[in-house]
Symmetry: C2
């Protein structure tokens, strides 16, 4: 009940006792009492005055996101990023390290713990730490917080990530697939704020989608919903995917795929800037493709345009099936947004069903490289403020249960 009130203020912007009574169907006395408690605890605050209704003007409520902090952790394949954020996901302090996730969960979590302790030491005046959210680059069983059959992360399968961190920091820990976390970040603090149905697509080293249905993450039965990397977009293709099949989206449009094609184009000399980069750095990556394309290299422009088309083909299926109001594109490759999106949009609007694209928007994420940290932090906030955990949070904030 208190959780419902906090949710309505935080996500719907309801700001008066009257509105909250209307929305919940609860009596005024009970609602006022709960609001009083939430104000006392510090999860709600008053802001200025609301419109007068004749008598005393009610003072509007807002969610008091400064009441506590959470950690958001993004475990990437080649880096880890840790951020301490307010309850609105806004980072107060961030650390990033180059890191190989293949070093396994214990070494990785130990590194993360060290980064967290550094951050806490740097911000002794921060509000109390209330929880930790973690995004992993693999399917996760959300209820247990454990990785499930990660295809590339040996050693992580079924590892108790939640328990490891909870035992060290004494707060609630929630673990999800990083793309789901990023989708939640867009829903609560990004381009998708207030939308019911949208899709977040991450185009980075790998490719994945997070689906939001009726304002809630659709995780699926095994927590692997949104795995679009292996949609077959070209049955005639002979490109072999790591999954054992051919024609997967992943083999055409991921950062990995772009890097491989770029290496070939560098070696053959078809792209001069890539050849130069290869000679200088010893390797070329998707980021080099974006950089060269931004400088006008026609080969790299073409490469990004083709990747956008391939993404568009996969998104066409996704859009016909899910009928989102918005597709948010994020991840490393999306940093080449203006070079990638036109061809992607062209295919989507040409090939999807007219009704599904009537009001569809395709936009870039505004979170850039913070998307993982913000999303992971907000994953923890979502749970902390939910009916199952709000009591723990209020206890933490006041030293007594509601």
């Amino acid at each position: 009940m208190s959780a419902t009130l906090v949710e309505l203020v935080r996500t719907q912007g309801l700001a008066t006792t009257n509105d909250l009574c209307d929305a919940t169907g609860m009596g005024r006395t009970v609602v006022a009492q709960r609001i009083g408690h939430l104000l006392e605890v510090g999860l709600l605050a008053r802001r200025g005055k609301g419109r007068s209704t004749g008598g005393r003007a009610p003072r509007e409520l807002r969610f008091h996101h400064e009441a506590a902090t959470v950690f958001g952790v993004e475990v990437g394949v080649t880096s880890v990023m840790v951020g301490l954020t307010s309850l609105d996901g806004a980072p107060l302090e961030v650390r990033e390290d180059a890191w190989s996730v293949t070093r396994g969960p214990e070494e990785t979590l130990a590194r993360i713990e060290a980064m967290m302790r550094e951050i806490l030491a740097a911000r002794p005046d921060a509000p109390p730490l209330a929880g930790i959210g973690v995004g992993l680059p693999c399917p996760v069983e959300f209820a247990s917080g454990r990785p499930v059959s990660p295809p590339i992360l040996s050693g992580w399968d079924d590892y108790p990530v939640r328990e490891w961190l909870a035992s060290r920091f004494g707060v609630g820990v929630w673990v999800d697939n990083e793309v789901n976390a990023m989708a939640l970040g867009e829903l609560r603090a990004g381009t998708a704020r207030g939308l019911d149905d949208f899709i977040y697509v991450k185009v980075g080293t790998g490719i994945g989608a997070g689906l939001v249905s009726a304002g809630r993450l659709h995780r699926g039965a095994q927590g692997c919903a949104g795995d679009i990397a292996h949609l077959c977009i070209d049955p005639a293709s002979t490109r072999q995917c790591r999954c054992g099949k051919t024609g997967c989206l992943q083999t055409f449009a991921s950062g990995n795929a772009l890097g491989r094609t770029a290496t070939r184009l560098a070696k053959s000399g078809e792209s001069r800037p890539l050849a130069r980069r290869l000679a200088e750095a010893g390797e070329v990556t998707a980021a080099d493709v974006s950089a060269a394309a931004a400088q006008g290299d026609p080969v790299c422009l073409d490469l990004l345009s083709t990747a956008g088309e391939r993404l568009g083909e996969a998104l066409t299926s996704l859009i016909n099936i899910f009928n989102p109001a918005l597709v948010v594109v994020g991840g490393g490759v999306s940093m080449a947004g203006d070079l990638l999106l036109p061809s992607l949009r062209k295919v989507v609007y040409e090939r999807s069903l007219p009704l599904a694209t009537r009001d569809l928007r395709v936009a870039l994420s505004e979170h850039a490289d913070r998307a993982g940290v913000v999303g992971a932090a907000l994953t923890a906030v979502e749970e902390l403020l939910g009916p199952a955990h709000l009591d723990e949070l209020t206890t933490l904030l006041t030293g007594k249960a509601s």
Copy 2:
């Protein structure tokens, strides 16, 4: 609040005041008071005795689905079916007419009204009529109850179906896409009962899917989620689809597509039973293919097996994206279940991601040709028992508001 209690008893099977207090977090006094009112109104009933907890044994609650009736209406492309059902969707009385939906909404609704009046006259002793649910073979804006840009149903676009029926029967009317209604029927009274995430696939004259996420229908931003008919499953195909594109699932595995191929096989004499049928009846349909296949005709067996494979290819995308726990297959073509499902399953389990198929079941609908009526009726029940309409229902049942 009362709506939550009814939902918990009806869909979760919670049966005691204690369980309801635990599930809602509400105090015992309030819960007992609301239960008392719902018993009085007749939406809940007592059944036998629960386990004793030392003192007086609490008598278990159940949803009293006999309290009222609703109409479920399925408007197909070539028929209409109307059923009067209890609040659990079980039909008390059903009428079906051959009918062409192209006659437009007014003639069609007048026919439906006549069928309803016949049914009411035949069942003068039935509990009071509380609502009407309608399934249409096109996208529907659920909030307004109006068809949206139906690709084939000229005259139906934006027609006020809800208002037309509501003005004649004086009860609430809800209109949805028929496949969504069928999915809801499976969730509340079918193979998918109690599941959080599943997909219903109708393979009839056309093809469509209904998606259920976290126990709720995912309708999408324009109400056209689950439109899998136009997923491109063969970019190299030259089969022209009505939508203007080629390679659509619809051109391979729908009843229409089967009928067309069957006609060709009949004319060429490749299938003897089909040729015989064409000579006798002047046409051959998907049903003739099923019948001939059931008699062992190898050409028709092959045709159904190929259709199953094509469906499997489309479902592979759907399963990778949505990660359901169950796929329920229904619709006319699915009546050939044992001839269609093996090849469908083979492709799904071979090509979908291992994690997504780890616990996946693929099953036939048990509702057979009643799926549309049951689903439409339960669409109305779902709304009638929801927070927005429960008061109207209790007023109807008692003559006074709660």
